[in-house]
């Protein structure tokens, strides 16, 4: 049997094809099976990339949603000196005006060698776009978030700031860091020859999660009022420092918290550490006469005294335990109301003596002195309230006038709030809620009562006595707000330096309005005023009036007494 030509040709073609396919099959097996791992790794190395993406840090907003802090996307402009060096001068000429750097500085960086150099961090998006448009060789960009504080110095001590790693180091930024912090994610991507991501080949990844937004109880308008008035007081009286706190007594919400000296949140490094200290919560001082409210309220609550009970104020010099206690002015016999009205140290001491040390101590602790208020800010101190066992024989006459005890301004204001708020001590509330990116609440903070320190009846009696303080003849007539029913107490505490009392003072006034149903309470305290007097009523009282009047108008708190002309018009 002989094969025909056709059959031979067919056999050759089939053999050739079989051989070809066999070679291909062998090669495929070699590439896809035998060298699979090696080649896969090579491809991943060349085209693949793990991209880490940082979540944006959450915003801080005031109670009306106004932005106090947010994170802006910026860029770090980088360079590859090996590529950029040959045209360093040209590149420097084009970049210098955009980056706000000198040409010589840029040339130095572009010619220093290596493959990577940072030219400038925190370059905004628009500038980066302009640089991109120049299409400069060897110039690159890295994403970076920069924290921005649009309101600058406003509420600087409350908002706080972040460090270079974007972690909060002070204020709400630090206290709520866990909520604010964004969480990083990653993506495994592949790029084409032009370096663009091939989206369809994105294999795995975890999306970054932006941080939550924190909404404060602070109102930026009230904060501005407080800060403006505090600045005026600083200019007028030249104290070393000062604080103003505005709260809602019924809920404990802090509407404004200002401290001087202060600093710009966008440049926290450009000030002394002293300016960064929030004096409202981290400074302790003897409160002076404002502390009388705690002792007298306690005495009224215990039924030890009534407002009409009278005490001999010894004409300004009371000898007790071998030491003489003085009043600023000599007084004879005063009722309890008059003791508060004239701020008599001797009268307050005699009220405390009638109560007895254990009960005085009980109220000192009940009003929250000697322990932290629990405000959501870092750096709060407890103050000093010595245990009863450490009291000397003199303590019972000194503590009622605000000596031998050290408190923070916030503690003192919360105690005053308890007096005005039917005796309920509230926990100060600084954070209202935490929201996610869609505005849905993640956490909400409600007003929290700490204790019922005194009964409502005692609170009413105290309020009626404290109303007198701002009346003509009281210690703070300048704190009276026209049309409003105000209750308050002055404080003029001598400072201690090197263990001795010196002729320097903390001047303060704490008050609330409307006295019968308080909507706001305000503390004003100036540390060592050197111009225009030093009495609390003279120095802090007018500041209180200015703040109270403006805040009452802003919040629409109706006045209690209409002016005659207004009444007649109506």
């Amino acid at each position: 049997m002989t094969l025909s030509n056709l059959q031979i040709r067919a056999a050759v073609v089939v053999s050739g094809l079989s051989l070809g396919f066999s070679v291909l099959a062998v090669r495929l097996v070699q590439l896809h099976v035998l060298r699979h791992e090696e080649l896969r790794a090579e491809v991943a190395r060349v085209h693949g990339q793990v991209v880490h993406r940082q979540g944006r840090r959450g915003d801080i907003r005031d109670c009306r949603g106004n932005l106090l802090a947010n994170s802006l996307s910026t860029h770090i402009v980088t360079a590859d000196p090996q590529v950029a060096a040959p045209q360093a001068v040209t590149i420097a000429q084009q970049l210098a005006p955009l980056l706000g750097m000198s040409e010589s500085e840029l040339v130095l960086k572009l010619t220093r060698g290596g493959r990577y150099v940072r030219l400038k961090p925190k370059v905004d998006i628009e500038t980066a776009q302009k640089i991109r448009a120049l299409k400069l060789k060897g110039i690159g960009f890295e994403d970076q978030f920069a924290r921005s504080y649009p309101t600058g110095v406003l509420a600087a001590h409350v908002v706080g700031f972040v460090n270079a790693e974007h972690h909060g180091v002070q204020g709400i930024e630090a206290a709520m860091d866990d909520y604010l912090q964004g969480h990083a994610g990653y993506e495994v991507i592949e790029r084409d020859r032009k370096g663009r991501e091939i989206r369809a080949w994105r294999t795995e990844g975890i999306s970054p999660r932006d941080g939550y937004h924190v909404v404060l109880t602070i109102d930026q308008v009230i904060q501005h009022i407080a800060e403006t008035e505090l600045d005026k007081a600083m200019a007028a009286h030249r104290p070393r420092g000062g604080v103003i706190i505005v709260t809602r007594p019924k809920t404990g919400e802090i509407l404004a918290m200002s401290s001087r000296p202060t600093f710009d949140l966008n440049r926290p490094g450009n000030c002394s550490p002293d300016a960064r200290r929030n004096r409202c919560i981290s400074d302790v001082a003897e409160p002076g006469s404002t502390f009388k409210i705690a002792v007298v309220a306690g005495a009224l609550n215990e039924g030890v005294v009534s407002l009409d009970d009278r005490f001999d104020c010894e004409n300004g010099a009371f000898v007790y335990a071998g030491r003489v206690l003085h009043d600023a002015h000599p007084y004879g016999v005063l009722s309890v109301i008059e003791i508060l009205f004239h701020s008599s140290n001797i009268g307050a001491s005699k009220v405390a003596l009638r109560m007895g040390a254990p009960r005085v101590y009980k109220y000192v602790r009940s009003f929250g002195f000697g322990r932290k208020t629990g405000v959501a800010l870092p750096g709060e101190v407890s103050g000093i309230a010595h245990p009863l066992s450490k009291w000397t024989k003199l303590s019972i006459t000194r503590i009622p006038m605000g000596h031998e005890i050290a408190v923070t301004p916030l503690q003192m204001l919360m105690a005053m709030n308890a007096v005005g708020n039917g005796g309920r001590l509230m926990r100060p509330l600084m954070v209202k809620e935490v929201l996610d990116g869609d505005g849905a609440p993640v956490a909400q903070y409600r007003p929290q009562a700490v204790a019922q320190v005194i009964q409502p009846r005692a609170s009413i009696l105290m309020t009626s006595a404290l109303r007198k303080v701002v009346e003509p003849g009281g210690t703070a007539p300048k704190a009276a707000v026209k049309g409003y029913d105000v209750a308050g107490k002055t404080g003029t505490a001598q400072k201690i330096e090197n263990g001795q009392y010196v002729n320097r003072y903390y001047s303060s006034f704490i008050g609330y309005l409307p006295a019968g149903d308080p909507e706001i309470s305000i503390l004003v305290s100036l540390d060592d005023p050197t111009v225009g007097g030093y009495y609390g009523g003279t120095v802090a009282g007018p500041v209180f009036r200015e703040v109270a009047e403006k805040v009452a108008q802003y919040l629409g708190i109706p006045p209690q007494q209409l002016e005659p002309e207004a009444a007649s018009i109506s």
Binding site: R56, N66, L67, N70, I198, P559, L562, E565, A566
Partner: protein, 131 residues
């Protein structure tokens, strides 16, 4: 012989037709696969572009929010008011007139006053007419 040749010719036509169909099928599947893959890539590319646009808009939004917050801040507004000499400020207590909500007793008093004024005017008119 002729019949056998006719049979072979019809066999060839059938085989060729089937082969062509098979080739067409394979080609169609191949082209479809490539088209499908191309669509995936185009879609992926579009998603990537949209993602980039969204990210850019979010960045811009954050920047504008910060700018707006700064423009709305009380300190800035106050400074601008001063700059333009607008003398805008919250009214002081003495600059405000507060109107009391009328009570029922007050309204009754008003009605009585109006009636008494009208009756007095009427009486005077009558007196003038009589004169």
């Amino acid at each position: 012989m002729l019949q056998r040749n006719r049979k072979r010719a019809s066999l060839h036509t059938g085989v060729i037709a089937r082969s062509l169909l098979a080739c067409l099928y394979v080609a169609a599947v191949g082209v479809g696969f490539i088209w499908y893959k191309n669509q995936i890539h185009r879609l992926g590319d579009e998603i990537r572009k949209h993602e980039a646009t969204l990210a850019a808009m979010e960045k811009r939004n954050a920047m504008l929010a910060a700018q707006l917050a700064q423009l709305k801040s009380p300190a800035y507004l106050e400074a601008r008011c001063r700059e333009y000499g607008l003398e805008l400020a919250a009214p002081r207590a003495g600059q405000m007139v507060r109107v009391v909500e009328p009570t029922a007793a007050w309204e009754a008093q008003l009605v009585r006053t109006i009636w008494s004024e009208r009756s007095a005017a009427g009486a005077q008119r009558n007196l003038m007419v009589q004169q």
